[in-house]
């Protein structure tokens, strides 16, 4: 045996290592960082035009953390699911008490060297805890309304804590992740129909009679001051103009006028996709969306190919985090849904969100690697 080479155990591990998640992630990130540079390079605000450097640093930190996470065995994840969830819940409560305020919302915990958003980590926490819960109790049965109550409460508590921060978007994501996982865990069709009817009825009653137009608007603005800080409708319209003006092939890299003339607010965070569309058009979006679909399908495929039920739900949960972020952000900037601040995975600027998605990929890689053990 050659001493200088790696022990066979590690070579085995490396051979087994699934690079598909991190590979796709890096591709999307490269697109994102170019887009961020393009969106911010024209501004005279030094703090803004240097953002892409910060983002690159954050990316390497996130990638490293994700890689480390990928070496944690799913069994260990299973064991510590509740602990991780509980710690996150504590941090969320702490944010409300001693969190750092920024432009009206209290979302961060200051750790001296960096600020962290516990609500981001909670997305993963909720997936872990729900996976464990649903994998344990009577998996052959379909889930009915009664059995939804406990996991429902487990999601609702952090979701409410996040909504009062206020951060409507993240709270919404948590609820959607919960429903996706529950649906996958064979929620009775009967229950689904009941829930849908209930949702439609309460929703329309509230919409028609409960609120007046300006009140509805005010609720959204209050819940998410970033979402519509500039005045109702203005952001949405400028975003639509930006997207539409890109036409089929776009105006070209660094050529977006909407973004560089700063008509488009927050063009490096929530509206990154608008800038991308303005510069690369429908064709560019088709490519980007395809890459997202590949990554998402990779998660679903993983969920159906593993041999452990906990792993399966975990993979599906991680997928739902990716999907709902992508879908909501894209719908929001294209005017399909009202504007609530939800970032586009790996493209929007933001360290905490990068870290979340990288950890998601790390967890999926871990699951993927371990399935080959048997």
């Amino acid at each position: 045996m050659n001493n200088s080479s790696l022990p066979p155990k590690y070579i085995q591990m490396l051979k087994r290592y699934d690079f598909s998640f991190f590979g796709t992630m890096i591709v999307i990130f490269i697109i994102g960082i170019l887009n961020l540079y393009s969106a911010t390079h024209a501004t005279s605000d030094k703090a803004l035009s240097e953002l892409y450097k910060t983002q690159i640093i954050w990316f390497f930190i996130s990638l490293s953390v994700g890689m480390i996470v990928s070496f944690i065995r799913p069994k260990t994840l299973f064991r510590y699911s509740y602990v991780f969830y509980a710690v996150n819940l504590l941090l969320l409560a702490l944010v409300l008490l001693i969190g750092v305020k920024g432009l009206g919302a209290r979302r961060w915990l200051d750790f001296g060297i960096a600020r962290l958003q516990p609500s981001e980590m909670m997305k993963i926490g909720i997936v872990l805890v729900l996976s464990r819960w649903y994998s344990k109790f009577d998996p052959e049965q379909e889930v009915n309304l009664k059995e939804m109550i406990i996991p429902g409460i487990m999601t609702l508590i952090p979701a409410l804590l996040i909504v009062v921060e206020p951060d409507l978007g993240t709270g919404l994501i948590l609820m959607l992740v919960f429903f996706t996982i529950t649906f996958y865990r064979r929620l009775q069709w009967k229950t689904i129909v009941i829930l849908c009817l209930l949702g439609v009825v309460t929703g329309s009653v509230m919409y028609k009679f409960g609120f007046k137009e300006y009140q509805r608007q005010r609720v959204i603005t209050f819940m998410d001051p970033w979402g519509d800080a500039q005045g109702y409708g203005y952001n949405a319209i400028q975003s639509e103009i930006a997207i539409g003006s890109g036409q089929i092939f776009g105006k070209g890299f660094k050529k977006s006028s909407q973004a560089s003339l700063s008509y488009l607010p927050e063009n490096h965070t929530d509206f990154a996709f608008s800038v991308f569309n303005e510069e690369h058009g429908l064709f560019g979006s088709l490519v980007l969306i395809t890459i997202y679909i590949i990554l998402i399908m990779r998660f679903i495929w993983l969920a159906t190919s593993v041999s452990n039920f906990y792993d399966s739900i975990l993979a599906m949960g991680l997928m739902s985090i990716f999907f709902w972020h992508t879908f909501f952000n894209m719908s929001m900037v294209t005017g399909l849904l009202p504007i609530v601040g939800i970032p586009l995975p790996l493209v929007s600027y933001g360290g905490s969100s990068l870290l979340t998605f990288s950890v998601c990929c790390g967890l999926a890689t871990s699951v993927s690697n371990s399935k080959n053990l048997f």
Partner: protein, 758 residues
Amino acid sequence: MFDQETLIKLHRPRANLIANVILFMFSLILARLWYLQVYRGKQLLNYSLQNRLRREEIEAPRGMFFDRNGVLIVDNVPRFDAVIIPQYLQHKKETIKKLSEVLEIPDEMIYKTLSKKSNLASYKPVIIKKNISRKEVAVIETQNDELPGVAVDTCVSREYIDREVGGHLLGYISEISSTQLPKYRNRDNIDYKLGDFIGQAGLEEQLDLYIRGQNGYEFVEVDATGRRKFRPQSMSDGGGEDDLFREIKDRPAVPGPNVTLTIDRDMQLSAYNALKGKEGAVIAVDVNTGEILAMVSLPSFDPSLFSKGFTSTYWRSLTRDPRRPLRDRVIQEHYSPGSTFKPLVALAGLEENAVDEKTEISCTGQFPLGRKVFHCWKKHGHGPVDTYRSIRESCDIFYYRLGKRLDIDTIAHYVRALGLGRKTGVGLPHEVGGLIPDREWKKKRSGEEWMLGDTISCVIGQSYVLVTPLQLAMAYSVIANGGKLFRPYVVKKIFYNSGEVVKSYSPELISEVKLHPKALAVVREGLRQVVNEPKGTAYSYGHGKGLGIAGKTGTAQVIKMSAEKLFSKCEEAEYKFRHHALFVGYAPYDEPKIAVAVVIEHGCHGASAGVPIVVDVVSTYMKKYFPELHKKYLQQEKAKGILMKAPPPKNIIQEEEDTEVEEDASYEEGPVGAAAATGQRNNNVANGSVGNSGSSGNSSSNISKTGAGQGGLGKKMTIGSRIGTGIGNEGVGRWQGSGADSGPDGPESKIEEQGDDE
């Protein structure tokens, strides 16, 4: 249990369903993208090229200021700026040339301004000239075909009715600087933008968050040359391509609430006019409430210029002016109180039983201590001096003796109880706290022990003792109202035009100082005599006006002087070496209403420079608010035959003048060391040390009668005899005698601080 593989197979249909739903949802997004980018692509591209829709901020008008009687002091007026919107600028050369003719500014300046702002988005207007005249507005508006890309911006600017009168008090507003931006965003949790105006000094700064109102915005459409078009009403009905903007709503600006001040505009004007041409401060307060009636600092600045066509040259001229016109001398400047400090020391002496009204010493004009000789301002001495006379004629030797009897800590305790040595909490930004030294302070500051010589310098208001004019006025208010220390305030209420009151302020008693009525009576009588008895230092300038002023003159040395220089004429010295002149007093002496403190930098004599200003301010006040009382005093004085008609002859001034002397005969002339008389040039030192002394002062709750005075006495006697001056011995003898006389039935120590400052 169950087979996991089968279980997962059981769930596969759900996974497939999820995958299909996801694909469907992405196809929705793609469909929407197709709709925007292909179906409406051309139209939206056109929009992006013109971007006709612009969101414009509407500045909320700030609250207006009124004086105590509802007279408008600060108003809002429209202002017009000529701007260029680079996006729409055509035929650059001709347009700029034409514009430079209209505005009468060189075209290089326009180019320079444009290139400076070239990094801004091109649709953002660049201000070429602020505050253009209505004629210029008319020319630009009518000739807009020849001036593509040039427009007139309307905004609100602040108008300070009396210009530089009370400029420091009112403060000014100016654009937020890039260094302030992140700091203020954090502090106020308001999303400030560059170009926003914020209060930068005085009340404008202090009340900024109250009076700034809430900015609104409106969405305007602009035509191809950048001029705004009015949004046609039909737009809101929808239809056609304009449908896009249908949902957009404007938000009107909410004006800030108005402010009523405690200031009286007439008094403000009379204080300003009296002080005009000099450097100094005038402060008048209501002794029974702490309301500030007039507050003027000179040299001043015109706050209007900051928000209206303000040029950087004006700013530079202000910051580079060696007289520092931006500093509010009423609350932001430290002065040595000079002789105005003596009545406070006398009060401490009376309370501590160290003197009473019968105490008499002999002033020979000299006071030896160790190798030093301290002088009285009157070269050959006053002769016999009692407590009344010590105040009336401002005898230094009396206070040197008293200082020896009282420990510095005791003096510090009493004067601090009168509000000195700490911020008054007036509710204006950047107030300084002054300095009242004690043993602990000196030890902390220099590591040296307190020396008797230090006390001697401090009792006549020199050396380390530093005050602000406002503190002096408040301390004298306490004497005037019989022991109530109020927090001075300038804002009466903040209210909306609708009448809704946002906040109202009322008198706030900081502490009630228990002063012995007898002690108080002696000091008050002394202060009365200063102005109303022929030998008083302020008699020639202050009596016979029907105002009943009581007060004390003071002269603060700017530099240390040799004995020879000491008695030379102040007016002959170089301007910057001349003494500061002070006068602090209240009126009328029988039933005090108002206290006034005046400092005139390099004014030489408290009486000639300070008293006339106080007379002006007090007479404005009395005539306006207490005409009956004024008449009564006039008649009284007429009866006594002391009504003054002509100004006093010049030659008597010098004799009646007081000059504090703290000197070392062997020392050369030079700046007074340590913190000290030049402290006002030296605020950092003083500020740093104030904190220390303040805290130590508050912690020592109740100073009992100290024996340090006696110990000092003994020590001095030995020194005195060694030097063999003899005078000292004689003085000491008298002191001991009188002290023993007054001992048994003298007033008890009664000062207690009831409240506490934070």
